[in-house]
């Protein structure tokens, strides 16, 4: 009756207040199949996998696992039935060792020594070498992901769910991960692979289910579709690529960083070591790197949240290293941090108050120490209108906005201050394709008008699209910036530090 399918999802629906997250979703996964779940942010991918993993209960519909009714009330039940999941955001304790972390995720963990031995065996077998005794806080993002994967593999899952696994990996690490997943599939484990990266899905997956606004809009063999076709299914319209109107001529240096070394303010952060680069008027410098390699620290050192000796950071040739954020803004530097809820914006404050947060100095929103709320409100209103922010108005709390909408607002807030230098960390992370394109276009426009821009991103395609020069931040060090034109993925991967020692295992296997 089920035709040998491992998992069968039939007509599943889920409604959150105000959002129909899933509607009549059906899909089947065969044993040993690598099945892609494709869709934009907010398309309902996460809700669907949370239902499969027992984190969310569906309002309607049913599921069958191996022909048996399957309705997990909790992840524990899902794991008992052979369903495992690797999350996009790791659930690891940094202060504990690899083995301890793995033990915490198991129902009945064996004695520590036995577990450590098993971790070693399984991780070597699948080309993901791990030292069970190392502290997770000292591991790179790629290695942390290995901990999560190995934790799942130890439970011999029949279905492995992977949520955006490559966002934290270098290109070489991606290759190794894919080799591991193919090996697993060949052994009969099914994989549900969630991503919005089309090339990856075309390279890896046997079948793809495309979600849009909570519904299944297409099912296809990704190897037979072009990336453009997949994108169109996902977005529902053809996207126009961003265009650079005028190639601004290089002018004087507006941002200079020399020998910048600072310790991280965070417990398991990454110290910056001897960072040096310059950005000229009209130039976009792309800074790539896997998360956790000092991106946050670099942004804070540039924004003024971390201060150093005056000469380490120069804005328009004037020393600024010892100045705080508002003084640097006065000199023309604006910054947009990655974390939108709590760093770039105060979630519980209104958009007006959040517009004031950085707009205070350059938009003249203060007179004699008093806030000009009316002007701040007008500023917020202007950003909402110009950047197509979908919200009832400037009096709404920031947390009421979706990630993409808030990001448009926050990027707009910085770009509308007539800055000379712009520093942005993760401009389009978690933003839907249309909004991401709009944000990139806005950044390009500001550069064309003469601003010098630093874009820190984990999205290589994004950086290759918009940056003039390209550098990689790896363990707190920045490579020498190179002209973006003509760079290959291979070269970028090597700049990113290769695969952090993972090659060895796979070479040995091959």
């Amino acid at each position: 009756m089920t035709g040998g399918d491992l998992l069968r999802v039939e007509g599943v629906g889920k409604t959150y207040p105000g959002v129909r997250a899933n509607e009549d979703v059906s899909l089947t996964i065969a044993p040993g199949e690598i099945h892609a779940l494709l869709g934009e942010n907010g398309a309902g991918k996460s809700t669907l996998v949370k239902i499969i993993y027992g984190l969310v209960r569906p309002d309607e519909g049913r599921m069958l696992l191996n022909g048996q009714p399957y309705a997990p009330a909790a992840p524990r039940e899902a794991r008992a039935r052979g369903v495992a999941m690797v999350f996009q955001h790791f659930s690891l304790f940094e202060a504990l060792s690899v083995a301890e972390n793995v033990a915490l995720g198991m129902e009945d963990a064996p004695p520590m020594r036995e577990l450590a031995a098993r971790i070693r065996v399984v991780s070597e077998e699948y080309g993901l070498p791990l030292d069970p005794s190392r502290r997770v806080g000292d591991l790179s993002a790629g290695e942390r992901q290995r901990v999560e994967i190995v934790r799942c593999l130890l439970q011999n899952p029949r279905l492995l769910i992977m949520d955006e696994p490559t966002s934290v990996l270098t290109p070489q690490e991606v290759k190794i991960l894919f080799a591991t997943l193919r090996k697993l599939a060949a052994e009969g484990t099914s994989i549900l692979y969630i991503s919005h990266k089309l090339e990856e899905i075309r390279a890896l997956c046997d079948r793809a289910t495309v979600l849009r606004r909570g519904r299944v809009v297409a099912e296809c063999d990704p190897r037979e579709c072009s990336a453009a076709q997949l994108a169109e299914m996902m977005v529902g319209q053809a996207l126009s690529p961003t265009r650079r109107t005028v190639k601004a001529e290089r002018g004087r240096i507006v941002l200079g960083v020399s020998d910048l070394s600072v310790p991280s303010p965070f417990a398991f952060g990454t110290a910056l070591k001897d960072i040096r680069f310059t950005v000229a008027r009209g130039e976009i410098l792309g800074v790539a790197g896997v998360a956790g390699n000092g991106q946050d620290e670099l942004l804070m050192a540039l924004s003024g949240e971390i201060v150093t000796e005056p000469d380490r950071v120069r804005i328009d040739s004037r020393p600024a290293g010892d100045l705080g954020p508002d003084k640097r803004r006065a000199m023309g530097l604006v910054a947009a941090p990655e974390d939108r809820y709590g760093h770039a914006a105060a979630p519980d404050m209104t958009l007006t108050e959040n517009a004031f947060l950085t707009g205070m100095v350059r938009r003249g929103l203060v007179s004699r120490g008093f806030v000009r709320w009316r002007a701040a409100r007008e500023f917020a209103r202007q950003i909402i209108a110009d950047y197509d922010v979908r919200t009832p108005g400037p009096d709404v709390a920031a947390r009421a906005l979706s990630g993409g909408n808030l990001q448009k607002f926050l990027i707009g807030r910085e770009l509308e201050q007539a800055p000379d230098v712009i520093v942005i960390n993760q401009p389009t992370w978690g933003v839907d394709a249309a909004a991401a394109a709009a944000i990139r276009q806005a950044i390009l426009n500001r550069a064309a008008e003469g601003a010098g821009v630093v874009v820190i991103s984990q999205d290589l395609d994004e950086l290759l699209e918009i940056s003039d020069r390209f550098a990689v931040l790896n363990e707190g060090r920045l490579t020498r910036p190179r002209t973006t034109e003509g760079l290959t993925m291979e070269e970028i991967g090597l700049m990113m530090g290769g695969a952090h020692g993972m090659e060895v295992a796979h070479h040995a296997q091959a």
């Binding site: 207040p17 209960r57 009330a73 924004s303 003024g304 949240e305 705080g324 954020p325 508002d326 003084k327 803004r329 910054a335 941090p337 974390d339 709590g342 760093h343 770039a344 914006a345 105060a346 979630p347 519980d348 404050m349 108050e353 004031f356 947060l357 950085t358 205070m360 203060v366 120490g369 008093f370 806030v371 709320w373 709404v396 709390a397 947390r399 009421a400």
Partner: protein, 359 residues
Amino acid sequence: MLRLERRPNPSRFWLYATPPVAVVLTMIAGGLLFAAMGKDPVAVIRTIFWEPLFGDFAFYLRGQLLVKAGPLILIAIGLAMGFRAGIWNIGAEGQYIMGAICGAAVGLAVYPTESRLIFPVMVLAGALGGWAWAMIPAILRTRFNTNEILVSLMLVYVAETILAKAATGFLRNPDGMGFPGSRNFSSYPAAANAELFAGSGLHWGGVTAVFVALAAHVLLRHHVLGYQIRLAGQAPRAARFHGVDPTRLVIFCMGLSGALAGLAGLFEVAGPAGQISIDFNSGYGFTAIIVAFLGRLNPLGIVLAGLLMALTYVGGEMASTNMGLPAAAIQVFQGMLLFFLLGVDVLTNYRIRPVKGAR
């Protein structure tokens, strides 16, 4: 089954409805408590909430309301500023005592000189004393990252010891025949914080409290510093990103709350209490914490909360003397008020939703 669900926007309605609802719930639960103790609940509640305002002795008790509410409001506003910024000064009681000692010491030092300057200088010394006492936890926190909750709280007990020393030693009335306690300011007009209108209960402390409440309201709503205080409390990282220097904010908030507590102490000791005695302080510094939260950490709300708390004090005293209720029962009653307030407060940010079918 019911479930809490986060509201996208905080509810305006519940923001303002929370205090009255909490008061009503306190009356109900308190009534049950009093009934269980064998008292007539309606009569007790009526004694607490009605008698001080409109009863037979209202002419006197209304004044007592202002006497009690003044210091509570003054202290609570200072605390609320810090609480808003995530700076937890729990030791206002100590700052209150030290302000009183410093201010009183200045007045007693020049006894029996008559000058119009004496009282203002005492006020200044009181504020300074409270400020200095609050600077200890502030500087320890900014320099050594100590926990200001613990340090400020512990300093209360140090202050109480100093107070005992003052009352029995260096500030003792030389003409007091060896009894503990300082000279009484009521017999030293130049240094006394007398009632502004006879029988009204209103003294300079009450006037200052109203003025401070208005100033704090304007600061929080319209001044950059007020914005930074709110921002630092809600999103510390965003505050740094905005340009707030956390060290300066801690120093400012601790200093402000200490100075206001010191002022309250001086007004109390030079007025209603009349003299430095071993136990002139009546726990205003701790009760003010409740007042601050009861008033939603909002200066104008705190004025109302201070009056309400004073009402339960005055009325509670009436109830315990007239109806034989133990003082502990009244304290439980006051505790209930905070309990229900915090409980109902959840509805500002969350709504309750029925869930079909148990998990």
